[in-house]
């Protein structure tokens, strides 16, 4: 992966902007059960593990973006971390934009096009797609 200084700075800014939104809504804090008692138990016992994994992925991305040099060699595990982190951040951006239905890419609300969050969503999606393609060989 090759990112010049400007690209790294832009991505880091996106990460820092969206990171606080994680855990703020149902999309970024998905439930596991329909039954309230089982869901409460899952939230107590398992959700901290999910959040720790998410935070670790995002921290890896942040460290990678802060490091000097344009070239990044990612092994399979690191590439998966990036793919996960980008997905979490995209969910946060989607939440901010209020995207709830499929088809939003085909018919874009002109008001959305003007927002920084939309640009973030598209940029992260482009990057995530590239990483997924490299992981799939």
């Amino acid at each position: 992966m090759r990112l010049d200084g400007d690209e790294r700075a832009a991505l880091l800014s996106i990460v820092e902007t969206l990171r606080p939104r994680l855990g703020a809504d149902a999309r970024t804090t998905p439930r596991a059960y329909d039954e309230p008692e089982l869901e409460e138990e899952y939230a107590r016992l398992m959700r901290p593990e999910v959040e720790a994994s998410r935070d670790a992925d995002i921290e890896l991305v942040r460290e990678s973006l802060r490091a000097e040099g344009d070239r990044r060699e990612l092994d399979d595990s690191q590439a998966l971390c990036w793919a996960r982190a980008l997905n979490h951040l995209r969910l946060a951006a989607g939440g901010l934009l209020g995207i709830e239905e499929d088809g939003w890419e085909e018919v874009v609300d002109p008001a959305l096009l003007e927002t920084a969050e939309f640009s973030m969503l598209m940029a992260l999606g482009w990057m995530q797609e590239r990483i997924v393609q490299s992981l799939e060989g």
């Binding site: 596991a32 899952y42 998410r54 997905n87 799939e136």
Partner: protein, 99 residues
């Protein structure tokens, strides 16, 4: 006269325990559609977490996309919960429910 042998205890599984075991096998791991998550990413996650080939993972992804949800695995409850936890860690919307 031959010496008598001590009786051997043979464990017998109670019908209730057997029924609980059978019921526990039937938990569905369900992945739900989300308009943000890339389809290619969903395929990758299904392949990595469940070992599906490209065709099976793609078929399941399309079911999620077109029908709103898909059962991606049937597992005992504990295993299904771990699967859902992993799916959540990948950012997918996933639940488990009795099959």
């Amino acid at each position: 006269m031959a010496a008598s042998q001590a009786p051997v205890e043979v464990p017998v599984e109670s019908p209730v325990r057997r029924e609980r075991t059978v019921r526990d096998m039937g938990w569905n791991v369900v992945v739900w559609n989300d308009p943000i998550t890339l389809m290619s990413y969903v395929v990758l996650v299904l392949r990595r977490l469940f070992g599906y080939d490209q065709e099976t993972a793609t078929k399941l992804m399309l079911q999620v996309h077109n029908e709103g949800r898909a059962v991606v695995a049937k597992q005992p409850r504990e295993q299904a919960e771990i699967s859902v936890t992993r799916l959540h860690a990948f950012g997918l919307q996933a639940t488990l429910a009795r099959g």
